[in-house]
């Protein structure tokens, strides 16, 4: 059944994937199997995206399927069965309201075992600082799609520095406006303008790959 779930998920057969997952989750040890299979499926979808076979619509559909399935799977798992490999505070920077890319990245990061604290869009600099203090993440992810957001990222990182928190975290930036040059300009540690690469780099920053 895991094979079938994996296949229907990766083939974007929403109804079938959700149906199998519902059935599987009821069996003994099924919830863990569903979780792992869906993570594997998300990874495969990410791989197909990086290879240029899948497009954003497939990432969105996969993220939606993943969320649907997790809604009934997570409550059936014991705490230690969902062990995370690290925590990330994630938000779209002040002045920018684009959230589609951030949300795609979020699901894929979650599927890879990162505990993501999503602090939303148009996030004021101070709110990043507060969230870092509250959740003590290893990683901070910032998303930016408009040119004006680049300055906003730079300013956010300065504010994090001023709060004395910069050395406790690694910062990864994403979204349509980021590049190596932007990363250097704003003072981040890594950048990715596609979610699959972003997840890979995040794991590297966590020392998990």
């Amino acid at each position: 059944m895991r094979e079938e779930l994996l296949k229907s998920f990766v083939d974007m057969d929403e109804q079938e994937a959700v149906r199998i997952a519902r059935e599987l989750v009821e069996s003994d040890g099924g919830a863990v199997a569903v979780l792992e299979t869906c993570k594997e499926a998300m990874e495969e979808v990410g791989r197909l995206f990086e290879a240029g076979e899948y497009f954003l619509s497939e990432l969105i559909a996969a993220g939606d399927m993943f969320n649907q399935i997790m809604e009934f799977t997570l409550p059936k798992l014991q705490g230690d069965e969902v062990a995370s490999i690290g925590t990330m505070v994630l938000g779209t920077v002040q002045g920018d309201v684009h959230n589609i890319g951030k949300d795609i990245f979020k699901v894929m990061a979650e599927a890879s075992g990162i505990n993501v604290i999503d602090i939303g869009i148009d996030v004021p600099h101070e709110k990043f600082v507060e969230a870092i203090k509250e959740h003590k993440p290893e990683l901070v992810g910032m998303c930016c799609l408009i040119t004006l957001g680049v300055d906003s990222m730079k300013r956010t990182i300065e504010v994090i520095k001023e709060a004395g928190l910069r050395d406790d975290i690694k910062i990864i930036i994403g979204g349509g406006r980021v590049s190596q040059a932007v990363m250097e300009h704003v003072g981040a540690d890594a950048w990715a303008d596609d979610a699959a690469r972003g997840v890979r780099l995040s794991k590297e920053l966590l020392g998990k790959e």
Binding site: F55, L56, I60, D103, T147, L148, G176
Partner: protein, 412 residues
């Protein structure tokens, strides 16, 4: 009165653009120029003043164009796409287009939920923002398909326009009356701005109106883009039927722009990047293609602004007759587009705004030199920024470096 010298300049500029569209080599590479928030900053005014005060806006545009002249002007108060309202009033050709762009003063009257303006919902230095939203449920597709105009008027308008929430109420009637007053004042201001631009040698008339891929109407105004992407898989037949119904309305609307003097229709494409070639060809392209062809039959050319990555869909343009119009690119490399489209489609764009913001003047000179070296030969190229808005703090010496490089390397 416009001097003969400036009239001649306007003719030269128009001819330059026209030659490129017709895939020829003009005297110089046509250049659409840079603009955006930087225009207000250059004049020392806030974004709020630039978006609400016609006189200050005009003076800022004139100052910018005197120092940074290009083949098409900046100028006029911009607004946010309010297509659902144009659709709702499409049976009133004197009005539908008037409502299409909601600018600051119009929004003070209408209070649109998708809009945020400087000095209002935003600080005085931020530029206006369209923040979108979901305004329709999937169960409503049948209503949309049956009558997109009625659906927009009865269902969408009250959901998106704060002050039209209760259609027929005194508030809604007062809102429409006030909107008419604001539009009348603005029409007079716009004539003034047009006259000022003519004095600077910019063509009057022969302008551009808007058009949208039918699926983008659904993604931008009705369902919100990620929901539409899911709808395509869940309710494919309804999405297709909706696109066809919307096509009829939008073609009618764009042709109203033609009747008012426009010769070109600009399509900003949004869903393109999201779709695989298979989904693009099945859902997005058929009604978009038909739209372009119908406008062409009526003597209008189209300009498609392909936002995001368009690499996977470049070959679809070849289904259109050569010389059909302009393909402008954001992330897709114009050189790559040229390989596919040379001799068939006029290409526009090329200047990565990121380079203008963060490069040095020397780097910019080199960048433009290489770009023009690759793109000018053979003609059919219009130089411009890949996105329209240069931020306020863009170094002005970088802007100057772009214009100097175009001057230096842009001659055929």
């Amino acid at each position: 009165m416009v001097s003969p010298e400036m009239q001649k300049l306007a003719q030269e500029r128009a001819a330059r653009m026209q030659a490129a569209i017709e895939l020829k080599e003009p005297d110089r590479v046509p250049f659409t120029g840079l603009g955006g928030d930087i225009v207000a900053a250059y004049a020392g005014i806030t974004a709020y003043e630039f978006e609400f005060d016609f006189e200050k806006n005009r003076q800022a545009a004139i100052k910018w164009l005197k120092d940074f002249p290009a083949d098409s002007p900046v100028g006029g108060i911009g607004g946010l796409d309010n297509l659902a309202m144009s659709v709702a009033f499409v049976d009133f050709p004197d009005l539908a287009n008037q409502f299409f762009m909601v600018n600051g003063p119009m929004n003070d009257v209408l209070n649109m939920k998708f809009a945020r303006f400087p000095g209002r919902q935003l600080d005085e230095y931020s530029s206006r923002q369209f923040i979108g939203g979901k305004n329709m449920e999937p169960e409503e597709y049948d209503e949309l398909i049956a009558d997109p105009v009625k659906f927009s008027y009865e269902k969408i308008l009250p959901r998106i326009a704060g002050n039209l929430a209760d259609l027929g109420s005194p508030t809604s009637l007062a809102t429409m009356a006030r909107l008419g007053m604001v539009k009348a004042q603005q029409a007079a201001e716009m004539r003034k701005t047009g006259a000022a631009l003519a004095e600077l040698g910019y063509p009057t008339g022969g302008g551009s109106t808007f058009a949208f891929a039918p699926l983008d109407y659904i993604g931008d105004h009705l369902r919100d883009l990620p929901n539409l992407v899911l709808d395509i898989r869940r309710y494919p037949d309804k999405v297709k039927a909706a696109a066809e119904a919307i096509l009829e309305v939008l073609v009618k609307w764009t042709l109203q722009g033609k009747a008012a003097g426009a010769v070109q229709a600009g399509f900003p494409l949004h869903l393109n990047e999201y779709l695989s070639p298979k989904l693009y060809r099945e859902f997005y392209w058929p009604t978009l293609k038909e739209y372009i062809l119908r406008l062409r039959e009526e003597g209008m050319r189209s300009r498609l602004f392909c936002e995001g990555w368009h690499d996977a869909h470049l070959d679809t343009f070849l289904e259109l007759p050569a010389g059909w119009g302009i393909a402008a690119f954001e992330k897709t490399d114009v050189r790559k587009a040229k390989k596919v489209l040379a001799g068939h489609t006029c290409i526009s764009g090329g200047i990565d705004v990121g380079v203008v913001i963060s490069g040095t003047p020397a780097e910019i000179d080199e960048y433009i030199k290489r770009l023009l070296g690759d793109m000018m030969p053979g003609g059919g190229f219009i130089l411009g920024p890949n996105v329209g808005n240069l931020p306020r703090n863009t170094p002005i010496e970088n802007v100057a470096a772009v214009y100097e490089a175009v001057e230096k390397y842009g001659k055929y």
